[in-house]
């Protein structure tokens, strides 16, 4: 069966112990667009990315990636599918025992039979695209957080994937690094005709580059729309998240008995 989007999430439920992270979640990620998945902490954004990458399996429902149900793939088929996508992990996840050059070369060495010259040129071009050609001899421990994220980005696109998943790419970055990453994500998406899925709670940065936003909450998709429509939304939960209001539909307080009941010597 062929579907519209590059990723189709159909009636997915996922539990951690007794706690439901998702209950009958449905959404579609359109091909060729930048989609930002947003939501409060604990809403399951990173979990959703891991479900899409096949690192976790849904308890119910199915996830179609490139029109294939990833739960039904064997390891070899899953690896073939993974070769068509790149992932930028929140921490960068660079291999600490390999240099910048070798980190970017890693997927190429594993999956492509390139000559030494082709491999060298390809790695250098990817590093040039993220502005770090000159840092190819450095080790990950010698890089700043922003530089590490850019090297990880070069590694994620080294195989020229069709889909790239970004897990919190702006987290912990200074304004300059954030702007650089924003520009890179946007430029790479159009230059390589990628589909990008971006998990973030940096609203302004994600909305500035996203074509569509999926807002998660209470195990469901609260809304899926363009950033402009989201900014104009009158839905209380959407408004609270977009405008960063401390209390509202998403409560400030963790569920508890009333303060009166809880204070010692105050209850009947």
């Amino acid at each position: 069966m062929t579907t519209d989007g590059i990723i189709n999430i159909q009636n997915v439920s996922f539990y951690r112990g007794d706690r439901a992270i998702f209950k009958n979640l449905n959404c579609t990620i359109d091909t060729g667009k930048i989609t930002a998945i947003m939501g409060p902490s604990g809403s399951g954004k990173t979990t959703l990315l891991r479900l899409i990458g096949g690192q976790l399996q849904p308890d119910d429902g199915r996830i179609l990636l490139f029109d294939q149900d990833i739960a039904k793939l064997n390891r070899k088929q899953l690896n073939q599918l993974r070769a068509r996508m790149g992932v930028l992990f929140q921490s960068g996840a660079l291999f600490t025992d390999l240099s910048v050059f070798e980190n970017v070369a890693f997927p190429l060495r594993e999956h492509m039979n390139l000559s030494a010259d082709d491999l060298y040129n390809r790695v250098l071009l990817k590093l040039e695209a993220v502005g770090l050609r000159g840092a190819r001899h450095l080790m990950p421990a010698q890089l700043s957080g922003g530089m590490a994220r850019r090297v990880a980005l070069a590694r994620a696109v080294a195989m020229e994937p069709e889909l790239i998943l970004y897990d919190e790419p702006f987290a912990g970055q200074d304004p300059i690094a954030m702007a650089v990453l924003q520009r890179l994500i946007k430029d790479l998406n159009s230059a390589m005709q990628l589909t990008s899925v971006l998990v973030s709670h940096d609203i302004a940065e994600a909305c500035a580059i996203a074509d569509q936003v999926i807002l998660l909450g209470e195990g469901q998709v609260l809304v899926q729309d363009t950033p402009a429509a989201l900014q104009a939304s009158t839905d209380p939960a959407v408004k609270q998240f977009i405008h960063g209001e401390a209390d509202g539909v998403i409560p400030f307080h963790f569920p508890a008995p009333s303060l009166q009941q809880d204070l010692r010597g105050q209850s009947e």
Partner: protein, 260 residues
């Protein structure tokens, strides 16, 4: 009434599940067709796990051999048998002390480092990242470290015995004046290659398996936080040490029990 019984059952079941997981992980990691490209990774791990443990093994072996020489001389000279000190030092070392002490040191030095390294790789998403590149972390990360442990410890045990015997010689012969010919001659006569040396090496191999398995499993299955890694590292040292001592008794009973 049922509550504590149910808790006990749940606890036992969870332990069984973890043991099953550990066994499955081990089988997945080691049942793999060896590739030429894996050799450099194994050699690198042999250096990290084996060569970097050499200093602690050499120094400990020398002191333990010296103490054995001194204690042996003191004890045996009371019966006028100080010429047998070489035999006592060698048998004590090759049968018992070398495998056990070297394994305990190896668990503390290399086992804990393996757990911490794999745990940190998990915490920094390097294992997840390998998986997303279609590379099995069990083959890439776990297998070379496991095999490096299996190969390194028996070699370290052999070195421990040699250095320990030399330490005993330093004290008994060079310091206390036992005749060198008696030291080596009695040793040569009393130590049987199959009965003593090979049995000692079998112990070393079993301990190497226990330590390497515990270390890689604890690292691979740890909770990827600083507290989780720290707890896993502690568990590696505690479980390995207890397993070494327990299995040492079982192996000693099997190997030398018949003589009792």
């Amino acid at each position: 009434m049922m509550g504590p019984i149910a808790d006990l059952g749940a606890g036992l079941l969870s332990k069984l599940v973890r043991m099953g997981e550990a066994l499955l992980m081990l089988l997945q990691a080691i049942i793999v067709q060896p590739k030429a490209s894996s050799l450099p990774r194994l050699i690198q791990q042999l250096y990290v796990v084996g060569v970097q443990s050499l200093i602690i093994i050499l120094v400990s072996a020398l002191f333990i051999g010296m103490v054995l020489g001194l204690q042996g001389y003191t004890l045996l000279s009371a019966y006028g048998s100080e010429q047998a000190v070489g035999q006592m030092v060698a048998l004590t070392l090759v049968r018992e002390l070398s495998p056990v002490v070297a394994a305990l040191l190896f668990a503390g030095r290399a086992g804990s480092a393996l757990t911490a390294e794999i745990g940190l790789m998990k915490a920094t998403e390097q294992l997840a990242s390998l998986e997303m590149f279609g590379v099995d972390p069990l083959h890439r990360i776990v297998a070379p470290r496991f095999w490096a442990g299996i190969i390194s410890l028996p070699l370290l045990v052999a070195i421990f015995s040699l250095v320990g015997i030399y330490g005993g010689h330093l004290v008994a012969v060079d310091w206390l004046g036992v005749y060198s010919g008696s030291y080596w001659g009695n040793m040569q006569q009393a130590v049987d290659f199959n009965e003593d040396v090979l049995n000692g090496m079998v112990k070393a191999l079993v301990f190497a398996f226990l330590i390497s398995w515990t270390a890689v499993y604890q690292g691979y299955s740890c909770i990827p936080t600083s507290q989780g890694i720290s707890a896993a590292t502690t568990r590696t040292v505690v479980y390995s040490s207890l397993a070494i001592l327990g299995f040492d008794f079982i192996l000693t009973a099997l190997m030398f029990g018949g003589a009792v």
